[in-house]
């Protein structure tokens, strides 16, 4: 079962919920997959011991000038302007390549050779009974989705996989959420929180995944998130009041369920809510 933690707005507490949910449930068979590959943070709190690192690359074209006749067919098929054919020279802009393979297929001279662009790394670790995997996008690399999909491939069906998704609503979020059984949307009761929640709800609805809302710092703003949730018939799974001690503990990189018994109860309650809504016994 895959439970993903997402939010439109950043900094609402996705990672806090993902990490603490994983640690609270650590009697079960748990995996934590940090799919925020642009800014992975879960390891800073979980402190797993890491035992594996794999480089992730994408297949990109290199042109064999010996064979290339500069016919221009590869440039023509490429929708991403990753190949430029001049009368006497073929240029590739590998950082623009999406890896569709069109240039390899279309070249009549077999002059397009396979090259690799490193997009990042996937690292594996473990904290007690919790299996941990995250991706780190190479700084300067634009395309997060292929790396996110790699991290997602580590999901084991027999386990409960908790996915920490990136913020926003566009392709990286979709790559992280696809195929989830349930999505927890973490928000805060502010105009920014509500606006971005609505966008995130739209994205999750596109994917047709059941979802519920966690309202973090539920006492700092207004009541409009609750009103929106009830109007849209989306369950509010948990409301977490602001607590300066908790904020400070988070700042230091601590696991909250260790220091605050109330957090352990809240996380167990959150999971019971999700289970009951998914009709899992």
């Amino acid at each position: 079962m895959i439970v993903s933690v997402a939010s439109g707005k950043g900094g609402t507490g996705k990672t806090t919920i993902a990490v603490n949910l994983a640690m609270a449930l650590s009697g079960e068979n748990i995996q934590l997959l940090d799919c925020d590959v642009e800014e992975p943070n879960a390891h800073l709190f979980l402190n797993p011991s890491m035992h594996g690192e794999h480089t992730v690359s994408m297949e990109v074209p290199r042109i064999d000038e010996e064979k290339c006749t500069h016919c221009g067919k590869c440039q023509e098929i490429c929708q991403f302007n990753a190949i430029g054919i001049l009368p006497n020279v073929a240029l590739t802009f590998q950082e623009l390549c999406h890896g569709c393979g069109g240039c390899f297929m279309v070249c009549p001279e077999e002059a397009v050779m396979s090259g690799l662009r490193t997009i990042g790394t996937v690292e594996e670790g473990r904290k007690g009974p919790v299996d941990f995997v995250h991706g780190r996008l190479r700084v300067g690399e634009a395309m997060a989705p292929p790396l996110i999909k790699k991290v997602r491939q580590y999901a084991v069906p027999e386990k409960l996989s908790i996915v920490d998704a990136p913020p926003g609503t566009s392709c990286p979020v979709i790559a992280a959420l696809r195929g989830s059984d349930y999505v927890i949307l973490v928000t805060e009761p502010t105009p920014f929180g509500l606006n971005d929640l609505k966008l995130a709800v739209g994205a999750v609805r596109t994917l047709r995944i059941p979802m519920g809302i966690v309202i973090n710092r539920c006492d700092v703003g207004d009541r409009k998130v609750q009103e929106y949730a009830s109007r849209e018939n989306i369950p509010v799974l948990l409301e977490v009041p602001f607590d300066r001690h908790v904020a400070e503990s988070y700042a230091r990189g601590e696991v909250l369920v260790d220091g605050f018994p109330r957090w352990k109860e809240m996380m167990l309650q959150l999971f019971r809510e999700i289970r009951s809504r998914m009709h899992v016994p």
Binding site: G11, E38, E39, C100, G102, P172, N195, L199
Partner: protein, 286 residues
């Protein structure tokens, strides 16, 4: 004309609240919301939309079942698993590469241009603003970021503005890269947490990568002074310009709830810190 891009790596550190305050304090400015994925600046600046434009970018494959012979050529070629066994294209998975369309032996695939969102030119109480909304689950956010920045620059130049204030997206990927190129400086809004520090490190490296001057401030600094100081020394060792600390103050949230910037909302210490930060930012850019 100069451009300041406000970014953070980590989301939720206060980029937009700060940018809204700078808009209130700046003169001869034009605003640009480059967080097209989850734009929020309009909630503070309440723009009156003067122009609305469609944003079209990229293409999408569509299989016509009447012409399709189900030969399987497209299925074998698609590297994005976007074509189902019954020969329908999943628009969310389709990357718009056009390989299936190009090679289809029955010419059964159409490849129309995508409507991915909208962009707007507006006026606000602090000056003109260019902003956008990317369609839900759409691709091409980087292209839309590039477009809103180009429009802000064009219109700013036409009107003799001196500065573009650009609200950037979180992260370090495609839309962030698109929001940084050619900027006069980036201001990284960090926070004194293990994650704030970690994410500042990565996004500032991106600034180095593109050779853009990196300015740094720490929001909510008094939440954990130890990390605030660590960020300050990280900046010193890396050659980033550290501009100061902002207090952890519920007034920022209250201002947001009222749809105001912090400098319009109150006259307390949070406002003073922001005004002071703006002075330093201004000095660095001009």
């Amino acid at each position: 004309m100069k451009e300041l891009v406000v970014i953070s790596g980590k989301g939720g550190t206060g980029k937009t609240s700060l940018l809204g305050a700078f808009a209130a304090l700046g003169e001869e400015i034009i605003m640009c919301d480059a967080d097209v994925d989850a734009a929020d600046l309009h909630l503070l600046l309440k723009p009156e939309i003067l122009e609305s434009h469609e944003f079209r970018a990229g293409h999408q494959a569509v299989i016509d079942p009447d012409r399709c012979t189900q030969c399987g050529d497209c299925l074998a070629r698609c590297r994005f698993d976007a074509i189902s066994e019954n020969f329908e294209v999943d628009p969310i998975s389709c990357e718009g590469c056009g390989v299936c369309w190009h090679f289809c032996p029955s010419k059964a695939i159409d490849f129309p241009e995508n409507l991915c969102g909208e962009w707007y030119y507006s006026k606000t109480r602090f000056g003109p603003m260019v902003h956008a909304q990317l369609g839900i689950a759409e691709e091409n956010s980087g292209r839309l970021v590039t477009l809103v920045r180009q429009e802000a620059r064009r219109r700013g130049e036409e009107q003799g503005k001196k500065l573009i204030l650009t609200d950037g997206p979180p992260g370090i990927g495609c839309p962030v890269i698109a929001s940084m190129g050619g900027a006069s400086a980036v201001l990284v809004v960090s926070e004194p947490t293990v994650s704030g520090k970690h994410d500042l490190d990565r996004v500032a490296q991106l600034g180095d990568h593109f050779q853009i001057p990196v300015l740094v401030c720490v929001n909510k600094a008094d939440l954990y002074w130890k990390a605030s100081r660590e960020i300050e020394s990280l900046c010193k060792s890396r050659g980033y310009t550290f501009l100061g600390h902002l207090p952890f103050d519920p007034a920022f949230t209250q201002a947001q709830v009222e749809g105001k910037t912090i400098v319009e909302h109150q006259s307390g210490s949070a406002k003073e810190a922001v005004v002071d930060l703006w002075r330093r930012v201004h000095r660095e850019i001009f």
